[in-house]
């Protein structure tokens, strides 16, 4: 059990990193990575929402959709759960933990359309994970996203001083450097715990 969970965690953070190997969540990855601070905020918000969404969607799927034979409604139900969850978390934080709200608040609405979140709940169903595995996959997937976005933001802060062809200005040079990071992450593939 523990080995299983550890290998899910290792897989989600390094080997099958959401950004660099599965391309889930590229839009916020490129949009929110110009500064390390912003990237950390976004990363934390994603870890939080992905963990919660994995837990809730697992319950919805196992106890409502599957027993009723409504599993074709999964996509629809999951996206509604995520949208409602994001709204709820936003309201909750605003009232109860204002300091965390000021830190994460502006990133929360962006998360609804982050495909990493919908991706992780769909993958949980596809991989037949149980409750604990789903939550672990959600949280570690989020951590992998955070690792990627923070690393990339620090690279990006230095790109400003680099010399590159004029037409690569903006997004293209970011994509190329993200590609190089992805190549570095390739080195983790084939790594196995207690293998």
């Amino acid at each position: 059990m523990l080995t299983n969970i550890l290998s899910i965690a290792l897989g989600a953070i390094l080997i099958n990193n959401f950004i660099f190997s599965q391309f889930l969540g590229c839009c916020p990855f490129l949009g929110c990575s110009s500064k390390v601070d912003t990237a950390t905020g976004m990363g934390l918000a994603v870890v939080f929402v992905m963990g919660l969404a994995s837990a809730i969607c697992w319950v919805v799927d196992t106890y409502i959709l599957v027993p009723l034979g409504l599993d074709f409604l999964e996509t629809l139900a999951f996206i509604l759960v995520i949208a409602a969850l994001v709204q709820f978390v936003e309201m909750f934080l605003k009232k109860m933990v204002p300091s965390l709200y000021t830190a994460l608040g502006i990133y929360l609405p962006l998360i609804t359309t982050n495909c990493a979140v919908l991706g992780v709940v769909l993958l949980n169903v596809q991989n037949h994970y149980n409750f604990i595995e789903s939550v672990v996959y959600g949280i570690t997937g989020g951590l992998g996203f955070m690792l990627a976005i923070v690393l990339f933001a620090s690279v990006r802060e230095r790109i400003q001083f680099a010399d590159y062809p004029e037409c690569f200005e903006g997004f293209p040079i970011c994509l190329v450097s993200a590609g190089l990071l992805a190549l570095a992450f390739m080195g983790f593939s084939g790594m196995q715990i207690f293998g």
Partner: protein, 186 residues
């Protein structure tokens, strides 16, 4: 308050209509989807060990463990014509899990493999499942191998796919496990 109720009502209505339409589409398609999945499994089975029918056996009762050497055995089926068994197993490749059907004859030799599901890198590991020449040649190597099967670099006879050592190792290991499992059946 009245406004919130109205908004909730509209949202609910749209959700209900959408769910209704989806229910209809599902009703029209689910039989075909089941049929497609069945055809796919039958195709995979008959490509590794030709037979008219396959009877699933309760391998746990026969003393075969569910997991051998990190390869999970999903199903073992006996060919109705008595030529051998098909082992369906799931194991991890380079990118995600791979599901494979492996035919084993009564002399404990592999009669062929077919990859049912995988998420390996296209152009590298995915070649193990592809119908291109590279893929066909890779899979053909497994025919006739016995329990001592191994990659060339480990002293065996199997040529790894270029650029996909991890996938090749995983597939080879799963074939060895399939043979071992059938051996346990006796």
């Amino acid at each position: 308050m009245k406004k919130i109720l109205k908004l909730t009502f509209i949202l609910f209505l749209i959700c209900a209509v959408t769910a209704g339409i989806l229910g209809g589409v599902n009703e029209l398609t689910y039989r075909r989807i089941d049929e497609q999945n069945r055809i796919k499994t039958v195709k995979a089975y008959s490509s590794v060990l030709p037979a008219d029918a396959y009877d699933e056996i309760d391998f746990a009762a026969a003393g075969v463990p569910e997991t051998i050497n990190k390869v999970t055995i999903d199903k073992i089926s006996k060919a109705a014509n008595g030529s051998g068994y098909v082992v369906e197993s799931t194991f991890s490749g380079a990118q995600g899990s791979i599901t494979m059907a492996c035919g084993v004859d009564n002399n404990l030799r592999c009669t062929g493999i077919s990859i049912i599901k995988h998420s390996e890198t296209s152009g590298l590991g995915a070649n193990a499942a592809s119908s291109s020449e590279v893929g066909v040649n890779f899979r053909a190597q497994f025919v006739g191998q016995d329990g001592g099967i191994a990659l060339k670099k480990s002293g065996g006879e199997i040529d790894a796919l270029s650029g996909a050592t991890i996938t090749s190792t995983a597939v080879t290991k799963a074939v060895a496990v399939a043979i071992e499992a059938v051996g346990m059946l006796g």
